[in-house]
Symmetry: C2
């Protein structure tokens, strides 16, 4: 059933996933639409963002920068919402806002987590290239990766929400952009539409060899968002003085245990030392405030001028969120994955 | 036999070590004392520095910042030398210099690698706390580790040439210093003589637990020079925003292959990300020049004022260098290891 005025459909965590989530780990429920109290607004969800970090919140012990979703609670997530009732002085009925309603039709907010979107023409972009994922690319690449003209920047998930922004920003800064993606279609898109200089299919049996050939001068900045075999192939290509912003490592999010041996940590340490590499983790939540305004101004202009293209992979219907999310963890999305929950 | 005026004894690489070097991997040879040509000086070795990096140079493929020692060639190494004959305009017979004569009584130099030591009272310190190892501690801790007053700094090999300087500099900068060392004697010395706030014996079966207890507020900067199990115990104690200068990892220098599984790389990546850790390798050779003068001035004053203590572990006789070096790789030295080659 679609979103209605009278019922709050919500997708809750039915069971903690073992490895890759299964459809039965989620449950679609119906509840009453809540009433806003004093100082609150009632939000209706128009778009729901699906992002890899949500997988970490489904584990019993979540990473320290976030929380574990209780069994039976709605999955958390960023959303574009319409205010449908307000008892808050700063928000009026009809306002379009960026919120954190999670995987449900309706949610209450005290307004502290809402960002007004005005009359934004394509508000779902506030969940992608003009929102958290784009901001992640901007901060990680520019503040930690520090690409210089003529250098080579590599990034995986090159057509995804973050990777596509990383590659296009790298190009705007005068660097060579080498993408890594799953499948020939995505690779073609990265080169032909997004302007990457090369894009290598990580499923190709000759992946490591092809990546090396695409980086004849090595890699000066590698934006790490996948880990695993991609990282293993990148490591020997890193140049002296390379920078590695660590944003995530989706290839391990479903791991139930550490991967089998050998223990490759000494290889990493040895590369860090020999090549004087700087590797730095960052959590985008730390960087909002002043830095977000810089991003919005700069990225907004690039998008308006057509210098950065944002591809959206849109799924219709809240009930399809679980399957779409499972696909995201397998790299089945093509562009920033959003669910259209209501018109 | 001791160093003489007529014979050049030299310790050459007889065979490439498999794992920990054996005495038979070295050979003591005698050769004629060479004659300096135009623009050259003849150096007589007074002190020879033994340092872990030498192990890497004995492998067939050395790290990119150095070279592999050919079979049959003298082992390389920093030395304190007396100029005994000079055909170089800038050096005169009798000059005391810091050089790179390697494991031998005599060597020629064109002067480009020599640093005059003037009438330095204890010239062997130019191989330790006032030389490369002290400089390594100074650059790694201050430029990458960036300790702030009240923070906790941890370092292994706490009574060694580098670690002892790291801990004492950390204290001078207002941080808490927690050392890790092999054995109760060394730990006592680190606390009672060097002023570390705590020092944990890495051989204690409860090592990880004791280290955690000694760092109740976590670790803000970890100076990495050992790797292996010490690093495994440090990793969970690192605080959000921690800095990890990577200077070496002596625990792996004798490895013949990667350690057995599981592959712990995802643990490291996860910690880097969750705790926004900055990990950065450095090679001290990159930092000479202006930065070395800053170090010499600052460290020289600290040593003169008795605010930094430098302990030397002195071995007599070039012929004893191989055994002393093998002991260094096992942590048997207690303080900066130097060989006194001649008076």
């Amino acid at each position: 059933m679609p979103s209605t005025d009278t019922i709050n459909r919500r997708v809750v965590l039915a069971a903690r996933p073992n490895g890759l989530p299964k459809p039965s780990d989620f449950r679609l429920e119906q509840a009453a639409v809540p009433e806003p109290g004093a100082g609150q607004v009632l939000l209706r969800t128009l778009y729901l963002s699906l992002d890899p970090y949500m997988r970490n919140m489904m584990d019993p012990v979540a990473p320290i920068y976030t929380t574990s979703i209780p069994i039976g609670a709605p999955i958390a997530g960023g959303t574009v919402n319409r205010v449908v009732a307000s008892k808050h002085p700063k928000f009026g009925s009809g306002d379009l806002v960026l919120g954190n309603a999670g995987w449900q039709d309706y949610a209450l907010s005290d307004g502290s987590d809402l960002v007004p979107l005005g009359d934004m023409a394509k508000p779902s972009l506030a969940l992608g290239g003009l929102g958290m994922p784009g901001f992640t690319a901007h901060v990680g690449l520019l503040d930690i990766g520090e690409p210089k003209p003529g250098e080579t920047v590599a990034v995986a998930a090159a057509t995804g929400a973050v990777g596509s922004a990383v590659g296009q920003i790298a190009k705007l800064k005068g660097a060579r952009a080498v993408g890594i993606a799953g499948g020939a279609d995505k690779c073609r898109y990265a080169v032909e539409e997004l302007g990457f200089d090369a894009c290598i299919d990580r499923r190709d049996p000759r992946f490591a060899e092809l990546l090396a050939a695409a980086c004849p001068d090595g890699i000066d900045a590698y934006f790490e968002n996948v880990g695993g075999e991609v990282f293993d192939a990148v490591l020997p290509l890193l140049n002296v003085g390379a920078r590695v912003p660590v944003c995530g490592f989706i290839s391990h999010y479903n791991d139930q245990a550490l991967p089998p041996g050998p223990n490759r940590t000494p290889l990493l340490m040895s590369a860090l030392l020999q090549k004087r590499i700087r590797m730095q983790g960052f959590i985008i939540l730390d960087h909002y405030g002043e830095r977000f305004e810089t991003f919005r101004r700069e990225m907004g202009a690039w998008v308006e001028q057509g210098r950065v293209k944002l591809r959206e992979d849109r799924v219709d219907g809240l009930e399809n969120a679980p399957e779409a999310f499972i696909g995201l963890l397998q790299g089945r999305n093509f562009g920033k994955l959003v669910v259209r929950v209501a018109e």
